[in-house]
Amino acid sequence: MAKVESPQVSRRTTRASLNSTPNSKAPQEYSKATNPSRPLTIKDLVFCGESISLDELINSFPGRRAQILELVQFLGPLNSPMIPLFVYGGASTGKTSTVLYMFRHLKRPFIYCSCVSCYSPSILFESILNQILLHRKNESGGYLSAKRCERPSDFVNLLGEALTALIDSLKGNMGKSSPNGSMVYLVFDRLELVREWDKSDSIIPLLFNLYTLLKIPEVGLIFISRASLDTFQSDTGFVEPFPVYFPDYTDDDLKQIFMSNQANPKLYSSFLRSVLSQFYRITRRVDELSTAFSPLFKKYCEPLGDLLAVPNGDMESKLYRHLQPFISLYQNETCTISSQPLLKDRNLRKSVFKKSGVCETLDEIDFHMSTSAKYLLISAFLASRNPATLDASLFDSTGGTDNRKKKRKVSEKSVDQKEAKEQEILMKGPGTFPLERLLAIHQCIASVGEYSLDDEELQNDGLRADGSDSGSMSDILLQLSSLCSANFITKGGSCPLEGSTRYRSIVSEDIVLKVARSLKFPLSKYLYRR
């Protein structure tokens, strides 16, 4: 996930990095020791470092005033019991960071676990128990957790014991001017991922009923999820927690977020004025907008010599005209992160000048594939795309040339019907094929390729496609398995009648066209539909 420019810290930060205040220039000293051999104490469950006031908290999260106040009121003063809380909203709306910063403001002990890093029940249970038992996985212990815990019954028992022990020690500290209270809060993040686990129908009611199962009033539960409560299906239901909703940011909130921490506010605001409204129609997520805006802003500032200049009216329109062709390009890039930025830049300059408006894709594939793998990919694509009955006519002994000696005059209606059927097949997606068909097609086109490549590559003494035998069988199977693991081809279940596994090619036509072009293979001749 891209790092967000705003003071809202990216969701993946750990507690240690959140110890620094968002707006200060000088980095705070981390009180959490990086020394791994130091044992954990109860104080590590609370944020160290300087505290922030409520106003600072509200100012760090523009547009979240109502939600912050509601959360703080819900948690209440020190040691007041609460019913479980369910915080939900779209992605990148600041749920996790708001909750964590709120704990920084309130300075209360809490345990945080995310269902992204704890991707199975046993890991989730053990992570929570480790944090409560103040156990750190280190080399001396063989990186083991404090207790092995796989079953929910063990988890509830161990959790109850650990929590009572922890709360007793917190209460014992109360005399020694420890203003952190004697309540412990458990924060479960990304709860919507639990729905896809194997045992989700028992884990989801278990988590929601945890408060009633534990029967400890000094525990507060906070669930954070991207999906609302009605999407958590359960046969017999569960105890419903109290919902708090985080809506997406409005236009003005987004402006405020992007404007903070900018070196040249006036320049950036003129940039936002021209760009935000167009991107706002597509997406309102902060992470996607920031990935699009950072390179766009660099492009916007290119004609300006001095980055601190304040643009006036003509300057603005000139900058906007310079930016115009790149906007639609970057609209497509709101999610992709290129692996080779330099190569992309160079190619972009070439391709943008070809056509403006709709974004241009690169002409070449930007990863390396061996020639035999390319042929295999093309044959898989053809096998998925064309119905099996046409193989004989397409791949006959003349090398697949268009064999239309007998042309019957077809009526308009049947042509239309045929086109509609072709469209249907296209809509349904790629079909499956057995291994034998793939090998047969591969044999045909590899031999064709050999003929066409022969003349052109005579001078190229280097690695030639091994077209004489189409490679040995084991090579092809190896290539096939590597294509499968690269997710170009998927392996489906076996057909119950035939009993062999079927494959499906899931690459898009663009990539296959590029691959065919690099081999100088006439792909369009073999496609069922032109």
Binding site: M82, M427, P430
Partner: protein
């Protein structure tokens, strides 16, 4: 002591009351002829007469079955000390036979200070159970087995239920099995041999109507005499509260609350929200708190998700709706793009976005829960080809479009006509 402190103390007292189910349901114990008294009679009679018994507590979630049971057990433990021991099992955790026996052994060992071995096998645990039942029977001590989420124990072979109920048939044992379930047909789920050993006693817990809420709210919200509270503050708080509770507006709010869900736990969440919003400076609850708590409790997640959509996503939703109206057989991303293209060709005011951008927006719709795949397993197809379905109705979509700020008028037009 200024005005702040008593209000904070009051808030704290009420919050702890709401979060404590035993206090809440102690109200019901005062009513005559309630489930509390019936349950108490059943268990106490089997204790005093040294016989076996079994009973099922049924009712929707949040009606206080477990809480009433806890109250009964608490009272009975006070009345007959040393004659009752309690073993609590939960269907969510202990539905597996081995797990359940291990848990029974653990709890019995903890109570009687015996050595508990985690490595004990299933046979050893079951023998232990039988011997414990025999011993307790000889000592005239009743064991109460509480089985929560009873319907989850009826999955599979029901071996635990059979062994428990079968063990109760012997003359020597004294046990009461109390099952708690939210399925009203839990007893129909029992196997024939288990059902024949079950006494078919059922207590139904139904959610109470509106007037009961009134008195329950009074029970929770009226402040007791407490050393931390000054008397005049308490008196004025209670008086203002009684005025509010008797008023028309509060009745209307409670009626609206009970339309969707009239269980006690729903009311408790509502009261908790109202109390959290209590203004500390004024020092008392006002009707405004209750009114503002109502929309926080009654959420409409699909409308909220619609309001958070971007304009492109609204276009995609409208295209899907039109496809649904036309009853197209196959609705996947490709067919939606075709419809989108058709709309773009007929109306020039519709924006044009490339396929990748639309696919991204479509995936966000999937994550939001407004659209979902028709088959839950992938079959290895990518997101563009799998059939999808809309999870919102025409009416909801129209409502969402109308309340959307700056919704393009073209969408309203497209929703209105079907061509």
């Amino acid at each position: 002591m200024g005005v702040e402190n008593p209000a904070e103390v009051a808030k704290f007292i009420i919050r702890s009351r709401i979060a404590d189910p035993l206090f809440v349901y102690s109200y019901f114990s005062q009513l005559p002829d309630s489930n509390y008294s019936k349950l108490k009679y059943i268990i106490s009679s089997s204790v005093t007469e040294a016989c076996n018994n079994s009973v099922l507590l049924l009712g929707p979630r949040g009606c206080g079955k477990t809480a009433v049971l806890e109250l009964v057990l608490e009272d009975l433990l006070k009345e007959h000390p040393d004659m009752i021991s309690v073993v609590k099992l939960n269907g969510l955790l202990h539905s597996d036979n081995n797990c359940a026996l291990k848990e029974i052994a653990r709890q019995v060992c903890m109570e009687h200070q015996l050595q508990f071995s985690k490595m004990a096998s299933f046979d050893e645990n079951s023998k232990f159970l039988l011997s414990i039942l025999r011993e307790c029977g000889l000592a005239h001590k009743t064991i109460v087995f509480v089985l929560e989420e009873f319907d989850l124990f009826t999955e599979g072979k029901q071996r635990l239920l059979y062994s428990l109920l079968d063990a109760m048939q012997s003359v020597l044992s004294q046990a009461v099995v109390v099952g708690v379930s939210c399925r009203l047909d839990a007893d129909q789920l029992l196997e024939k041999r288990v059902r024949s050993r079950f006494s078919h006693r059922k207590l139904l817990f139904l959610s109470s109507p509106g007037e009961d809420f009134h008195r329950l709210a009074e029970h929770i919200l009226l402040l007791p005499t407490d050393s931390r509270l000054p008397n005049d503050f308490r008196a004025s708080f209670n008086e203002k509260l009684l005025n509010i509770l008797a008023g028309e507006e509060f009745k209307r709010v409670v009626d609206q609350l009970c339309y969707s869900d009239s269980t006690v736990s729903h009311l408790l969440r509502f009261l908790f929200c109202a109390v959290c919003h209590m203004d500390l400076s004024s020092g008392s609850l006002s009707i405004k708190n209750f009114k503002s708590a109502l929309p926080s409790i009654q959420r409409q997640p699909k409308q909220e998700a619609l309001k958070d959509c971007s304009i492109l996503q609204l276009h995609l939703l409208v295209c899907m709706k039109r496809l649904e109206v036309k009853e197209v057989e196959l609705c996947n991303f490709n067919s939606i793009m075709k419809e989108y293209k058709r709309i773009r060709d007929s109306f020039e005011t519709v924006d044009y976005y490339a396929r990748n951008i639309c696919l991204r927006a479509f995936e966000h719709l999937l994550q939001r829960g407004l659209v979902s795949f028709q088959d839950s397993r992938g079959q290895g197809q990518s997101a563009e080809f799998r059939p999808v379905k809309l999870l919102i109705s025409w009416h909801e979509l129209q409502q969402g479009l109308q309340s959307f700020p700056s919704c393009p008028t073209i969408l309203h037009k497209l929703m209105a006509r079907e061509g």
